[in-house]
Symmetry: C2
Subunit: 205 residues, 2 copies
């Protein structure tokens, strides 16, 4: 039996290709929908239609809206840019802060993040997925601080996660509590504040 | 003409007393409702019933949900505790951070703040009211930094608002992106990081 004409050609040459593409289309549609309407407008049927994928496929694979959000965050965590390794803590944290800024001021990504943060305040499953996302991001960047400890830039016992979180925090706080756009100067200042505090031993456990 | 019997007695002795009490009751009911259900459950009729106040009074005075939220935030800003003045920047920022922590871990207040932050991500009027709230709080605490500049603890040109925001940011970030409860240690560390960075001149404009 040969595949019917409507099976996409990559299915024939690359096993799993169609499944992977369906996931990509559905997660893109979910992200777009979330960025536009927030959690209230996120419905599996709407996402399926937007992605051009059968409703039953979406229900079978993701089951619920929190299930879909959790997968979206997993995908966002694994596809985000890798950390830098400049050999200098200040530069590494500055690269991190500028990347956070870039994400937060991006029209689609920034709106998506604020929508997810808002959804997490009332939905425990979304909160758990969001917490995992940030834990993965912190893990990804922690080696910058471990290298800085090894180089003697910051004291032994410094908690890498706290340094990375201290770098992001002012940018999220500015986004959520002020009408101001986050500037490159804000990003660099956040990085420098975290670096100076780390060097002074503030984040030693 | 004498007042009818159903005019509360404080109206007779204290002009504006009833109006002030109605406002207090309505804002308390609005805060409770918001903490319980978030923005979706906040309805002027529901708030009126909860406050034991006539629906028409609430509609006439506050008009819309964003109008009610704006007034709630104005009340929260003016009724929050005044800043400390210990004569030492570290201690003042620690007092500030511990106050922020106390608010965020309080079951009613913490939920109220996260509900307001969530609502602000989609509702511009709520966002504007929330931004005003934080601007007032920052203004209230800015003199701690101005005094520290006068005492020579931090460099001339240090932006007080940035120091105050840097103190709060890690606590809000922890609340929104991790499942961890904010500890006194977290508050003190946030204060110390802001203080160390301020002394190093990171917040000089």
């Amino acid at each position: 039996m040969t595949p019917s004409g409507n099976v996409p050609s990559d299915r024939l040459t690359r096993p799993g290709g169609r499944t992977a593409r369906v996931r990509e289309d559905v997660l893109t549609a979910a992200g777009d929908q979330l960025a536009e309407t927030g959690l209230p407008g996120l419905d599996l049927g709407v996402v399926a239609a937007r992605a051009g994928v059968g409703k039953s496929t979406v229900y079978r694979r993701w089951g619920t809206v929190p299930g879909l959000i959790a997968d979206l965050l997993t995908e966002m965590a694994t596809s985000s840019l890798p950390r830098t390794d400049s050999g200098d803590l200040d530069s590494d944290l500055r690269a991190n802060a500028r990347l956070v800024r870039k994400t937060l001021i991006d029209p689609r990504q920034g709106t998506l993040f604020t929508a997810l943060i808002a959804a997490a305040t009332t939905d425990p499953a979304t909160a758990a997925a969001l917490h995992r996302f940030y834990a993965v991001r912190v893990q990804e960047w922690a080696p910058c601080v471990q290298s800085a400890i090894a180089r003697g830039e910051v004291p032994v016992g410094t908690d890498p996660a706290q340094v990375i979180r201290a770098t992001s925090a002012p940018l999220y706080y500015r986004l959520l509590t002020t009408p101001d756009r986050i500037t490159v100067g804000d990003a660099d200042r956040a990085a420098r504040a975290a670096s100076v505090a780390a060097k002074a031993g503030v984040f030693v456990n």
